[in-house]
Structure formats: C-alpha cells, structure tokens
Amino acid sequence: MIKKIIMKAIKFKFLSVALGISLLMISSCSKINEFDDTNVNPNAPTIPVPSALLSNVLAVIGNNVWGNAIAQTSALYCQYCSETQYTDASRYTDPNLGWDGYYGGPMYDLQGIINYNTDPATKDLALIYGSNANQIATARILLDYYYMVLTDTYGDLPYSAALKNNPTIAFDKQQDVYPALINDLKSAVAQFDAGAVFQGDFVYSGSTAKWKKFGNSLRAILALRMSKINPTLGKTEFAAAITAGVITANADNFTIAYPGGNYRNPVNNYYVITQRFDYAVSKTITDKLTALADPRISKFGHTSKGFPYGLSRDDAIAWSDVNADYANLLAYTSTPQTFPFHVISAGQVWLARAEAAKLGWTADDATVAYNTGISASMEQWGISAAATTTYLAQSSVMLNGINDLQKIAEQRWISHYPDGNQGWAEWRRTSTAANPNGYPALLPAPGAGKQIPRRMAYGPNDPLYNPTNWNAAATGYTVGGVKDSQDARVWWDKP
C-alpha cells in the first residue's frame, strides 16, 4: 500500500514536471513572438552611400560606348562594326532589346543619389559625401545622358513619371522629352554650388567646372539633334550651350579610364574574357578611312582590312576563311585592359560646333571648329600632330566649300567611333528625303530586303508589364501595318 502511494506520488511528480514545462512555455507567451535581431540581415546595408552609387554608374557608363547590347547593335546599324559569324542583327532582325537594365540599373542608382540628398530625413546624412546640390546636379546630368541614349534608340519613353517606383506609367513623347532634357541640363548645371565636391567621382574628381562643361556639351548635342525637326529651338539652345561653356580640350573629356583587372575596357573584355569574335570593324568605315588616308585606321582595328557589312552567314564564313586578317576592334586581343573610352570628347563637340556654324547657328568659324575638332580627335586616338596636319591639308578633308556639310558629318561619324549610339543617331539625322543614304552614305545589308532601322522596337517586358502604355506608344510607331516597327522614325528623324 505504501509502495502504491509512493508510486502515485512519483507519477504525479513527473506529470507535474511535464505540465510545468508546458506551462512555462505558455507563460512565456509574451516572449514567443520576440526574435531579437534574427531577421537583421548581416550581409548587406540598408543605407546607401551616394558616392558609391555614383562610382557604380561611372563604372558601367562606358558600356554605352561599346559593350552593352544596345550600343553593339547601334554600332552595327551605323556600320562601325560588322558581324563575322551569325549576321542576323546586321541584317536587321529585331534585336529584341529592352531598357530594364538601364532604368533598373544605373538610372535608378542616380535617382537614389537624388532621393537621398532630397529627403529631409536623409539629406544631412548625405553631406559627408559632398554638398547636396553638387550630388544632385551630378546625378541629374548623368540621368539626362542616359535618357538621351534611350530616347534616341526607342523614341517615346517613360520620363516625367519614371524612376518613382511606379512600374505602370505613360510614355512621354520625344518632342516633350527633348526640351525637358535640355531644361534639366540647364538647371542642373546651374545647381552646382561651392560646397564640398561629390566624392566617388573618378571621372572629373569632383571638378564642378568640368561637370558643367559636360552638361553643356550634352545640351549642345541634344540641340543639334533637332536640326531637322525644330531648328529654331535647336539654334537657340546650341548657341546658349556654347556660351555657357562646353568641352574644348581632351583634358575635359568625359573619359572612363579603365583600371584593368576586373574592370577592363569592354572591347578587351569581349575578346579576351568572353572569348567571342562575333564583331569586327566594318569595311564601310575602313573604306572611308582609307579613302581619306585617315591615320586613325591603325587605331580603330588591329588591321586595316574591314569586314564586309551585313553578309549572309555562309558568305561571311566564306569571306573570313580567305581573309583571316580582317580587323577586329581596336587593338584586338592586345587592346590594353586600361584602354579608355570617351563618352563625350572635345573632338566630337568641336565638330558639332563646326556643323552648327555651317548652319549659321553660331558665330563660330566653321573651319576653325572643324580643324580643331579633327585635331582633338586625332590627339585622342594618339595620332601625331604632324600626321594630323598632313591629313587636314587634303582636299577630301578640308572645308573648301565643296560638300562641307557632308565632310563635317563624316568627320562626326568617325569621331564617335565606336560609340554606335551617337554614330547611328548622327547618321539618321543626316539622312533626308533628298539624301536618303545620309552621311556617310550607308547602304543596307545586301540582299536582306530591309532598310537600315530608324529606331529599335521596344523590349519584351513592356508589352507584358505595362501593356496599355506600351500599346499607346507602340501604335505611334506603326509602319506598313506593323506596330512598334524598327522602320518607324523617332520624332527628330524627319525624312
């Protein structure tokens, strides 16, 4: 009997221990929903560093010269480059390229700088990286550059409502975007103050004077782009930009000096790291350089033998088999990793000024501007002054009243190499009803049965994720019953 009672007591003891544990867990209910810092991410920061956002943009901006798909395709359209193997893009199949990597990449990094320096809660925190005004102004100018590249490629695009974390927004008309970009550049240039310079700027090391020149140069290029459609506005803005001060010497160039290693020149990266050889220098440009005895030919490709443009695949293979020494871009595999790219350079700006002067838009001396522009470009490519002098003395080159506008246009086309965004836009602008092949005269890929595209069709994502607004814009680019046609022209590209 006693044993039984003890057993019972033991049983109850264990029962109460078990219950106790359960009740303890329940009684700590107030803590059951507390996890301290378990969900604090140890891997990444939640606060941006504006200078690092700027550095990030500057590290990729050179891909717009040559490196990203839009730039590479544009370089095919303006025949800086030829495809050597699979020639579909140079025979004008739809490249199907979107802009998400731009808006969602560097463009929003720039917007992030603006937001962080504008938000009353964070703008003071941003001051250690430079004055709010200098940071914002720098970011705005770069944003305007990106918008320029995209609108010249596609036409209408989200602008006024863009980068505000709203994915379904209307596309702005290019005729509205252009003046808005010019105005934004004006006010951004004016915004720089005497406060601390923006850190993270390895292009101009925070020199507000140089940023202003860059901003004004962009404004001049935008203004000249309107020569066919709105010369009145173009003239006013171009002249004003020059007065405000543009890039005049190579020391002011917007230059991306690649450090090498994991940040290589994109051409070097393409041939050496990616190990593809799909692109070569086009025979169109080597022919032109040869005809002009242009010494830059030795810099544009590793040989002077251009690859015929736009051949069919088997023709391209057959040709390359007996012409193995055709020119790959720049110095090909021995292009230094550190070879710099120039987003905007003095030569390009001077040549734009030469054209504007010739159009009567400014009081510049066209010949002086032209010769200065070519000289600056030669210098940029490492050509000696003596060789430049010889070059300029040729009647095929010098401005002598014969085909001067054509000569300027061709020099501009040469000066932008290998930047297809600019080269293609310039070529389109010089092509008119009277001169459909433009300057230089480009012929479409042989046998492709298609014309050189006048724009790129919108990318694949907008019809899916922003269908209504995409449709409204795409319908505006209908040619021959095909919506969103690459044969449609952007606003400034008047036939």
Partner: protein
C-alpha cells in the same frame, strides 16, 4: 491568442482526470509472425471497460481482477478471448480472418502520432516499401512516379547525377513551383539525403494536414517518410540487398543522315608553302566547312574528303583523306554505359522493451557522361528502448556522405547534348573522336587539344599564329577531351536525426520531448584546366578554380503531450494532443573563384587568379516558435471529428505582426457500419471531409531594401572607389504572411472483402495574398517587387483504386491505380497593375516560348512567337528574309499554347505472384501540358534534325534546288492583305532558318503527354528450406531482374522524353532519356 493558450491548457489538464485504478494489465497484440497489430480493441468481458491498443499494438487496461476474460477484436482478425491470471503482462496473438484482406491501415499524422485511417478526414495514400522499391531506386522522387494520386513527377535525365527531379503536388499552388517538404521520422531533410532502402512507408500530405505539423514550410505538401524500425520478426535479423543496374541511352532526337557539317558546300584546300609541309598531301582535296557548327554541308555519298583529324600529325589518319559516310548513331555512341551498384546491409533485433536497427547503404553510380560518378554512403541507426514501465527513449540518426564528380550542365550550349542536339556535324565518327581524345595540336608550350570544330578552315593558315588561325576548337572541344579534362567535385555530408524521451504515465497520457538536429555541410571544387583554355577559340572557357563550403544547421525542440481516453462505456474515444515547437536554422557559406584566368598554368589555387578573385560569403538565420493542439473524437468507431489549431510566430515576418494562426477541422463517417449484413459486397465505406488554413511566411530578410556592395573597388589616381547599387527588388513596406484556404472531401469504398477498393477525393484550394516577388516594368526603377499578391485557385479529383483480381493459392494478382484530374488551376488575380508574371524561359529571344501567369487564365501559360494566321486559319506568308520573294511565315507575337501543367496524371502498379515468382510493374502517364524545345529549334536551324532533309511532295529532298523540284512547299496567304493565296517552294535552308530569325516557337511546342512503363521487376523467391544445409543459413532469398524506363509507350513529341523535361518552359539542350536493366539479390538471415 489567449483563447488558443487556454485551449492548449485544457488539453493538457484533461490528463488530470486520469486516476490510477486498482490492478492494471499491460500487453502487446501481434500477429503470428510477431508483427504488431495496431489499434486492436481490448475489453473486459461482460463490462464496458475497454481500451484501444496503440499503433505498436501495446495497451494497458485497468480494473482487471484475477480470472477476468479479455476480449480482443481487430479488423481483419478473428476475435479472441483470453483469461487473465495473476500476470501483469500478456502477449496476444491473433489469427487473420480467412479470406479477408482488410486490416487496419495506420496513418502517421502530425508529430509521428499514429492513427487509424478510419479517422483521417483527408485522403492519405500510404506507399509501402514494396510498392516504392519495385526496383532499387536512386532517389525517392523518381521512386514515386505514378504511385500517388495528384503527384506529378517531373523527372530529369538520369545522366544528371546531381539532379533528383521535382514533385508537383496538385498542380500549381503558388506563383512559382516550390518543392514539397521532405520529412524523415519527423525531421525535415532534402530529397538527396533520403535512402530509399531505409524507407518503411511513405505518406504524401497534400493539404492543411501537412502544415499542421510542419508549418508554412509544408504549404506545398509534405513527403512524410517513416523509416524501417525493426526487422521482420522478433530476435536478430540480417538482410542483405545487392542490386546492379546498367543504363543505356534510349530516347534521342531523330537526325538526318544525308548531309555533312558546315554551312555551305565543299571547300577545296589550296596548299601554299607557309603551311606545314605534310599538308601538301591534301592539296586540291576537298573538305566540308569545319568552322561552322551546323550540318548544312555537302551531301554525304561516300566521296573522298578530308576529315577533321587529317590535319593533325601523329595518328594513323594524319594527312590522309577518307570517305564521307553517314554516321547515324554518332550522337548515341558518345554516351557510355552507366552502372549503378547498390549494396544495403541491415541488421536489427527486437525483444521485450527494445528494438534497434542499423543499416548501411552504398550506392555507386558510374555516370553515362564520361568521367562522372556519384558515390553515396548512408548509415542509419534507430533505437528505441523502454526504461521501466513509464519511460521510453528513442534515437534515430542518419549520416549520409556523397561525392558527385563531373559536370552535368544540360542548358543551351553544354559540351555534350548541347552540341548533339543543337550545333553538330552529322558526319562525325564518334569512335575516332573517342580514339583521338588525347590528340594534341603540334604547338609549343603546354599545347592544346585537337577539335573537330576547327577555329578556321585550313586555307586561312597563318604561320605566325597557328592556334588562332586553325587549330583551336572554334566553339566546341573534342567531347571526350572536354569531359576528361573538366574536373568538378561536390561533396555533401548530412547528419540528421532526433533523440526523444517519452514519459508514459499510463495508457492515456504521455509526454514526449524531442530534440531534432539536421546538419548539412557541402563543399565543392571546380577546375577548368589551363589546357582547355589553350584549346579553345570561342569556347568562352577560361582556366579557373572555384571552391566553396556551405553549412546548414537546423534544430527543432518539440514538446508533445498526448491524451487518449475512451469514455461513455467505450463509445467515445478521445485523443488530444498539445505541444510546442521551436525551430532555429542557421546557414553560412563561403566561396571563392578565380577571375580572368590563371597566372601559372595548371596551378589551381585562389591565389593564382589573374585578376582579383571573387570572394563571397552569406549568412542567414531564421527562427519560429509554435504552439499547437490537435486531436479527434471518435464515436462508436463510425463517426469521428478531427481538429487542429496551430499558431506560428516567425522571425521573418514584421515584428508587429509576426503571428499566423492556422486552424483545421475534419470529419469522417464510416457508413458501412450501418450496412453490415445488408450489403454483403460492401466491406467498408467511409465519407470524409476537412477544411483548413495553411500558413505562408516570408523568406529571411525580405522586409527591407538592401543595397548591393561590389567587392571590387575601382582604382583611379591612387585612390580606390567602392561601388554600391540599388537592388532590383523593392519590398512592399506592408508585407505580411498569408493563409491558404483549403478543403477536401471524398469517399473511401472497399468491396468484396477488400478485393476491390476505391478512394475518390475532391480538393479545392485558394491561395490569397501570398508574399511573392513579381516582375514588373523597370521604368519605376525596380524590375521586381515583393508584395502580397495573387489569388490562385486549384481544384481537382484524385482517384486511387486497389484491386486483387486473382487471389488463388498459387497465383495472386494485385494492382493499384492512381488517377488525378485538375479541373481548375486558375490564376484568378495577380496584383494591381500587374497583368502578368514570368515563370520561366527566355533563352535566345523573349519571343521564343516563355511561361507566364496571366490574370484569369490557367496557371503557367506557355507563350511565344507563333505563325500568324488569317481568319480562315491559313498561315500569313511574308518576305523570305534570305532570298527575297514570299516564303517565310509572319510572326504572331501573341500566341499562347496553353498551360505547362498536365491536367491528367496517374499510374498503374501491378504485382503478380505465381508460386515463387513475383512480377512487379509500374506504369505512369500524363496528358496535356506544353513544353518548348529550344534544342529542336537549333537542331532545325543547324540542319541536324530529320525534317531538314526530308522528301517534299514532289519526291525531292527539301535541300535540293527549288528549280530542280526541291525546297519546302509553303502554302498560305500573303501577309500584306491576308487573302491573296501564296503557293511557293522555298529552299530548305531558307525555310528552316526562318524560325529563329522570325522568333517563331510554334513548330517546337509539344504536348507533355506520355505513357511510360517505368519499372519492371521479375523476382524469384529461392526456396531456401529446400536447399539443405546451405539453405539453413537463410530465412529468405530473393533474386530479381529489373528494368527502369524500359518502354516509353506513347508520346506526342518526337525528340525528347516528355517525362524528363528539364525546365518549366521546356528544354534548352537536354540530355537524352535512358533505359536501364539490372538485377537485385536480397538475402535474409
């Protein structure tokens, strides 16, 4: 919350009602072989005092006086009465009722609580080891194909030793496909670490019943596995299982064998004096284009030509021409015979109050890709021991160590199937390719290997740079060289298991505490040798070394109190459980990889990186706390009510609102209790239904915007600048967890003394406001956004049929058939302003097929460029982009092909026994669902596939000149007006290239439909008792001949096995299907 807590307390306090009565008797109910009979009823004769035995057949009954007679009843067994003497322990054997095959089915429900299937209010198909392991299985996923209703097995080619396929339960429930949870003895693991040999039974939980135990991790279903705990009988048992399987390639694309490689006609070689002198022998001879990796070359007719290997010195073939002959089997000849060796030894013993089992399994697979293998060792141990009358301690542990060697890429451009199906020369002799795998080019330095795909044709020889001018492989290596050289090794070591401690007060009340641990460490080393970099022209391969380690630890602390009691004179059985769980997981990894090549060739260290190496590490922590209570009431064994409530608190949810409560309730009604004696043919009939909510939580660190920091700084002017970017994904500031509403109902019928059974279940589920990351237009700055979005519905019917058509003395035939039909799987809504969601696809142009969810349409719509048609359905014909004139199809960019989910899935399993022979067969099928084949597109573009050299309606080859009656007949209407008829012949080359250039996916979109005989096993039970002295050593011996994937009976696509499609959208460069044959020997001692 307070309500919930009080409910929990009530459940536990119920146990306080238990008072020990006078004398009690404990015992075990078993069959003649000593195997436990679960849930038998034990009553004291002439009284209403009764108890139910537990799942292990154990019981304790009180109020027993000496001389009392106990009546023991159990379904499928004859009733038995025994008289109790003074003993406090009894062992009771029951005899099966003659001709009755109905036995109590035990279902393992949440927290390992075993229940009679009688009370489960949901469909719960239990797969026994014999059904699962018809043949020796390499992984648990493939073992399940066709065996569980409503589970679609999306296999992968067995060539990929690092892949296990995927199980999709009841169609698409979330916006993305999420793996179900794998649980072994209550511990969450990965499908990789489950050893099929140790599985006793497997239960697939599909609805709220899965989350009742495992919380939100099981919201996509759970594969619940119970391991083998004991050997067949009491005492010591040893079992040896030895299987060997040989694998051969089975399903390959249909190739053309009429035209050789290249993209154009023969090239005549012109020797010049700068070239290697030996080449002079080949002067004036012709060869196809080596550089282009298509097969639009010259017609094969036995003519003299220069094969690729003739240009390299040092072989019997050097500088000699050969005859150009068809090689119809070259793509097949590449693949080696795979060998799977599976050895399992297990031993165990059970006795009074203890049971243990130890098992060791080695599975070695020599892969079908050269130089690939997998070696897996698994040690499993389980112990359970009673410490006195009230305590039981249990231990389960599994240690798995696996080493996988090789590269198994099967995406576009991979160096095996990526060539054979997409870019290849049909004339290549694979035997010579294998023979010449060590052939070097005559170059200095560390040299390079020869390739069939020369960088340039020899006419462009340049003495100054022979590697760039001819020798290096243009896009491809010699396939055998590549796989010989590439050196990837991954190791995984997993240790998981639990220790539990049970205090059993009496038969009514017990408390169990369990600690579970699951630890996975992996490491890998990938080497791309320097010589491969040297040997490639445009192969994109740099010499590299990469290595990394991961470590994952998971702990679960579980406390469970269970109460069972029969009240109201045995009429009402009460089962109530309450408990708590705490889960913590911790993940860490470190990895490094070289960049830009290696400074010193052949030195594979991170420090040898040409440019700064990539170094990364990541850490992730998660915790969740849970309280739960569940149980059931069963009245007179014919009607039962089950209930569960669970509340989870997740560290990953916003602190202010991190709790999710998920209730469920269900009922079962055994109506056959009322038809007893009236409907003789109806053995058993049950109606069941249940409703519940399933919680869905967030991934760790989803609540904030985290900026990306680039590890590489940019050096400029003596300073280094660090880079940071705004991430692509924007998390909605109001993110919360969500609950999925689910219910199911059905009927379970068994007829003719259980000779025939059918279970029909209807389910319906609605997933609302799940936290998901969606794609969006990036124009707002963010390409992705995480929001509570979407409303997805799924409904369907599942049928399981069991039959035993023949049950003779010598011959027995039993079968199980499963069938599932998804009646509705609609994405009702995405999110405000989000019209579509991209699920998969996009290689090579986004107008090729991709998979989307569109609002109001079926889950997972395959969409891609189609052929534009007019109102009459005639194709619109536009300009031939190659040679002008009408001839190409106009593209319809809006073409939708339908859902990627097969509406119908199912299987059939047959077992036939004749004397000592057993034949097992598993067949499975699916109907509907779409996939896109990128390989077919490129195989067409490249002139590899049969159709590109077909005979047209004029009897000429489509590659013959149109002027000579060749070409492809194109009929349609002019796209310009949509009505002018077009009837032309265009060259095969132009025709078959259009699909890429026009981005038309349509010809390469197919149905996933198939019927497949997946497993056959013919076994012979060796009559050991007739073997004399040798036989005495054995208790049993079984030998079987087995086959895996022996016959793909039916499919609606030509070139790939539709049961093994690698991606959601289809395949991009897939490995071929395989067929295997082997044997298995099983010995019991």
């Amino acid at each position: 919350m307070r309500k919930f807590a009080s409910l929990f307390v009530t459940a536990i306090l119920c146990s306080m009602l238990v008072f020990a009565q006078s004398r009690s008797v404990s015992g075990t109910v078993t069959d003649a072989n000593g195997k436990a009979i679960p849930f038998a009823s034990i009553t004291v004769k002439g009284t209403k005092n009764g108890v139910t035995a537990d799942a292990d057949g154990k019981f304790t009954i009180k109020g027993v006086a000496s001389g009392t007679v106990l009546v023991i009843t159990s379904v499928g067994f004859d009733d038995r009465e025994i008289s109790i003497g003074t003993s406090e322990n009894v062992s009771i054997n029951l005899t099966p009722t003659a001709g009755n095959n109905l036995t109590e089915v035990v279902v393992t429900s949440a927290f390992g609580v075993k229940k009679s299937a009688r009370v489960t209010p949901y469909s719960s198909q239990v797969i026994k080891s014999e059904q699962l392991n018809v043949i020796p299985q390499t992984n648990v996923n493939s073992a399940l194909a066709g065996k569980v209703a409503g589970v679609q097995y999306r296999g992968q080619s067995p060539i990929k030793l690092n892949s296990q396929g995927f199980l999709r339960i009841r169609g698409g429930g979330s916006l993305t496909d999420v793996d179900p949870l794998y649980v072994v003895d209550g511990t969450v693991v990965n499908s990789f670490d489950i050893n099929p040999d140790d599985i006793d039974e497997l239960n697939v939980l599909k609805g709220a019943n899965a989350t009742a135990q495992f919380g939100s991790r099981a919201a996509n279903g759970a594969i619940v596995i119970t391991t083998k705990k004991r050997m067949g009988k009491t005492g010591l048992g040893i079992e040896i299982n030895q299987g060997v399987i040989f694998d051969k390639v089975y399903i390959l694309p249909k190739y053309q064998n009429l035209y050789a490689g290249g993209d154009g006609d023969f090239i005549t070689f012109n020797y010049n004096s700068t070239m290697p002198a030996e080449w002079q022998a080949l002067n004036g001879k012709q060869h196809h284009d080596y550089t282009d990796d298509a097969s639009w070359g010259p017609r094969i007719s036995g003519q003299e030509y220069i094969p690729w290997y003739a240009w390299y010195p040092g072989t019997q073939y050097s500088f000699k021409t050969a005859s150009l002959n068809p090689q119809p089997d070259n793509a097949r000849d590449f693949w080696e015979t795979g060998v799977t060796n599976n050895t399992n030894i297990s031993l165990g013993q059970s006795g009074n109050g203890y049971v243990f089992r130890v098992s060791y399994t080695n599975q070695y697979i020599k892969g079908m890709l050269p130089n690939t293998s997998s070696n897996r060792n698994t040690v499993f141990a389980t112990v359970s021991a009673d410490l006195g009358q009230h305590f039981t301690v249990g231990l389960n542990g599994t240690y798995t160590s696996q080493k996988i060697r090789g590269e198994f890429d099967d995406a576009y451009g991979n160096q095996s199937s990526g060539s054979f199906t997409s870019w290849f020369h049909r004339d290549l002799d694979m035997g010579i390719m294998r023979e010449l795998k060590d052939l070097r080019t005559p170059l200095g330095g560390i040299g390079s290997y020869a390739s069939w795909n020369l960088r340039r044709n020899p006419n462009s020889w340049s003495a100054s740079n022979p590697a760039a001018s001819v020798y290096a492989g243009n896009y491809w290596y010699n396939f055998f060289t590549y796989f010989d050289q590439i050196n990837n090794v991954q190791n995984r070591n997993r240790l998981f298991g639990d220790i539990s401690f049970t205090y059993k007060l009496n038969n009514n009340f017990r408390v169990k505490g369990t600690v579970r641990k699951n630890e996975l460490t992996t490491n890998f080393e990938n080497i791309n040798p320097s010589i491969l970099q040297n040997s490639g022209g445009q192969t994109g391969l740099l010499a590299s070394y990469a290595t990394g380690q991961t470590s994952y630890q998971e702990y679960n602390y579980e406390l469970l109190a269970s109460f069972n009691k029969t009240v109201m004179d045995g009429k009402l059985a009460i089962n109530a459980n309450g408990g708590a769980n705490r889960l913590t997981t911790q993940y860490k990894d470190v990895n490094s990889a070289t960049n830009g090549g290696l400074n010193i060739p052949n030195l594979y260290t991170i420090a040898n990186s040409k440019t700064p190496p990539t170094n990364g590490n990541y850490r992730e922590n998660l915790k969740s706390n849970s309280l739960f209570a569940f149980g059931d009431f069963e009245y007179r064994k014919f009607i039962s009510l089950s209930w569960a409530i669970r509340n989870d608190w997740y560290s990953t949810l916003p602190t202010k609102d991190n709790s999710l409560a998920s209730p469920s309730i269900g009922a079962a009604f055994i109506f056959s209790e009322f038809t007893k004696g009236k409907l003789e043919w109806l053995t058993y009939g049950k109606l069941f239904g249940s409703w519940g909510k399933k919680p869905k939580t967030l991934n760790p660190y989803s609540l904030q915007l985290y900026y990306g920091v680039n590890q590489f700084t940019w050096a400029s002017g003596g300073s280094s600048y660090f880079l940071m970017n705004v991430p692509d994904n924007f998390p909605d500031p109001n993110l919360t967890g969500s609950l999925v509403n689910t219910w199911e109902g059905g009927i379970d019928l068994r007829f003719l003394k259980n000779r025939l059974g059918v279970n029909i279940t209807y389910y319906s589920e609605k997933n609302i406001k799940e936290p998901l990351t969606i794609n969006q237009s990036a124009v707002g700055g963010f390409p992705n956004r995480t929001i509570n979005a979407a409303e997805i519905e799924r409904q369907g019917i599942e049928v399981e049929l069991n039959a035993k058509p023949v049950a003779g003395k010598n011959f027995e035939w039993s079968l199980t058939s499963t069938f599932a039909y998804i009646t509705d799987n609609t994405v009702v809504k995405l999110a405000e302003g989000v019209p579509s969601y991209t699920l998969s696809g996009g290689a090579f142009g986004t107008n090729f097929a991709r998979v989307f969810h569109f609002e109001g349409k079926d889950w997972g719509i395959l969409k891609g460029g189609g052929i534009l048609r007019n109102e009459d359905g005639l194709p619109m014909i536009t300009e031939n982009g190659f040679s002008g004139g009408l001839g190409w199809f106009a593209q319809d960019p809006e073409k939708e092909y339908g859902s990627i989910v097969p509406k119908i899935t199912g299987g059939l399993q047959n077992f036939l026994n004749y004397k000592n022979f057993t034949l097992g067969m598993t067949l499975d099928y699916q109907f509907g669902g779409k996939f896109f084949s990128l390989s077919e597109q490129w195989g067409t573009f490249s002139g590899l596939l049969e159709g590109t050299a077909a005979i047209n309606d004029k009897g000429k080859n489509v590659r013959d000149d149109v002027a000579d009656g060749g070409g492809v007949h194109v009929v349609g209407v002019d796209a310009a007006d949509g009505k002018t008829p077009v009837d032309v012949y265009i060259s095969g080359y132009d025709y078959y290239h259009q699909f890429y250039y026009q981005q038309i996916a349509e010809p390469f979109v197919h149905d996933l439909t198939f019927v497949k005989l997946r497993e056959i096993s013919l076994g012979y039970k060796i009559p050991v008792n007739k073997l004399g002295n040798i036989g005495k050593a054995f208790q049993g011996a079984n030998i079987s001949i087995i086959a895996r994937n022996p016959w793909l009976i039916y499919r609606e696509s030509d070139n790939f096995d539709p049961s093994e499609i690698s991606f959601n959208h289809g395949e991009d460069g897939q490995m071929p299907g395989t067929r295997s044959i082997g044997f298995n020997l099983k010995l019991n001692f």
